[in-house]
Amino acid sequence: MAKSHETEHPVKAFGLAATDSSGHLSPFQFSRRATGDEDVQFKVLYCGICHSDLHYLKNEWGISQYPLVPGHEIVGVVTEVGKKVEKVKVGDKVGVGCMVGSCRSCESCKDDLENYCPKIIPTYSAPYSDGTITYGGYSDIMVADEHFIVRIPENMPLDSAAPLLCAGITTYSPMRYFGLDKPGMHIGVVGLGGLGHVAVKFAKAFGAKVTVISTSPNKKEEALSNLGADSFLISKNDDEMQGAMGTMDGIVDTVSAYHPLMPLIGLLKAHGKLIMLGAPDKPLDLPIFPLLAGRKMISGSGIGGMKETQEMIDFAAKHNIKADIELISADYVNTALERLAKADVKYRFVIDVANTLKQA
């Protein structure tokens, strides 16, 4: 007979779960595995709300396993470590991002690129190696293999660090890998949401000139005054876009809705690079002439490996880069998800788990 969620593991846990594709979250009693020799258990303090959580809750990608406890921007304080754990000790501040397991032996894993491992285990809604389903950070307690834990430096505020574990690494990794991190470069950021606003901050820290490209004129002032962007283009304004043609070394595109690539390719200088981070569910039109005529390139990127996630956190701590968040209580989460669906947030919701996620 199958064990219930409460009894399949020895450690009691409490969180928020959706039971079907309505995506509505409600209180959920479940359990976590005992802390193994290489595991780190921590009390969750904060968890960021990523747009992927919304996609999963509503089963938009067809892969959701219910009951589903989302959350892969998780930050907390260590409560127990396994015998072989050397990276952290009880009381340390730690985080977990989008993955909690990989095969550890393929080429990608050996290159510290666990995120490209074909056997990657996402932090939630995925089968774990012990046969149970993974549960994410909208919960009071978390346990993960040491390899997938990042240390959060002392001076980093924890609430605004949480979103870096997905939004941060997702923008940092490609800017490094594709060489879009050199001082003096001109980088475009398409879309000013959770990923976009962090991309602007990293690009500025790399010494780039940053132009935000958006459909929303009302984001302009904040982009320039608050986030430090150097300029702002409204993508539907043909004159503005024309004026910026051939000026950018790279563009980071965080928009997952269907949108035209041709104007973005036009904004690139010769040899420029367009990096897609949002994944629209239908193919986009790729015009070939502009790609060839300027020897330009389009690629994509998804999160990052553990080594570079730690590097990103350390970089953010050093340069005082934090996400701009709206801290919410656990009972606001369904409303927050509705607002997120309308992009009504500056720029990431973070659940104040420790203070507000309580059993009734």
Binding site: Y116, M276, P283, L286, I288, L291, R295, K296, M297, I298
Partner: protein
Amino acid sequence: MAEFKQKAFGLAATDTSGVLSPFHFSRSTYHYVNVKINRDRENGDDDVTIKILYCGVCHSDLHSVKNDWGLTQYPIVPGHEISGVVTKIGNNVEKFKVGDRVGVGVLVNSCRTCDVCQQDLESYCPKMIFTYNSTDKDGTTTYGGYSDTVIVDQHFVLRFPENVPSDAGAPLLCAGITVYSPMKYYGMTEAGKHLGVAGLGGLGHVAVKLGKAFGLKVTVISTSPRKKEEAINKLGADAFVVSTDAADLTAATGTMDFIIDTIAAVHSLAPLLSLLKMNGKLVTVGLPDKPLDLPIFPLVSGRKMIGGSDFGGIKETQEMLDFCGKHGIAADIELIRADEINAAMERLAKSDVRYRFVIDIGNSISNL
């Protein structure tokens, strides 16, 4: 039409039927800005006059004579895979002497002063001037290599190495550089890596030969199973995948480090992307006339890349010719007479050629 001292004779198309017929014209000698046109000069100070012996028939010639891209000015004399011998050199020319075997490719001029020109990347100059169907700096229209003579600024003339034949070497001037340049730029030259070549035509067959010379494992990806035997036995490819065969595709999934996509028609990118390993690169050099469908998910989940490349700068074109000379690489050609050009174009439209037509200009242009 302007008249210059150096007369020329060739083949031109006069309308979108693309049918080529005999055409008398003359060669302009001035290729720089701010120089007055002197119609009595035969050859400018920086110019090289070339008696054309052979000219390759590139698929772009076919697109151009039919105005597929909407850019054609008629009458159009195509041809940008030109080989021949030097008959005159200008006062400033030191690189070449009369009698040298030389070639001219896709470009006859560029602005010479911008950033990319300074970096020997003339093919990315916004003011580049194509060998045919462009307006040159003196306002004249450029006419290409389906003709008996051409006059070109020495900077844009290539030297043919000893063992690159004039006939089979002509296609290297476009097909050769068009695949060589991106293979270098995108790092597809690491021995032992696995290269896929999509499309086995003029460009594709040269890419296979270059790939083998770089020490790569080469797999040809094609919709035509009948090309398999030649690909492996004659061109030296290691394997062959029929892209419309699901089993073939599945077996080759995630096995290639790079793919050079030479397919000129609109085609699906998704199967090609699936053949790439993680972080794999697909470089597209074919010129379909409509946008292609680009699925984004494989780019994000596999950090795969799609890049473009046009042809290449002059320095690199010379490097490519020298590389081909060193490795004994030339195109596989079907030599035709000038009066056979229209029939050849029809066959080219059906991809019925192994793998490039070359017009035997020297022996047949005057018989038209």
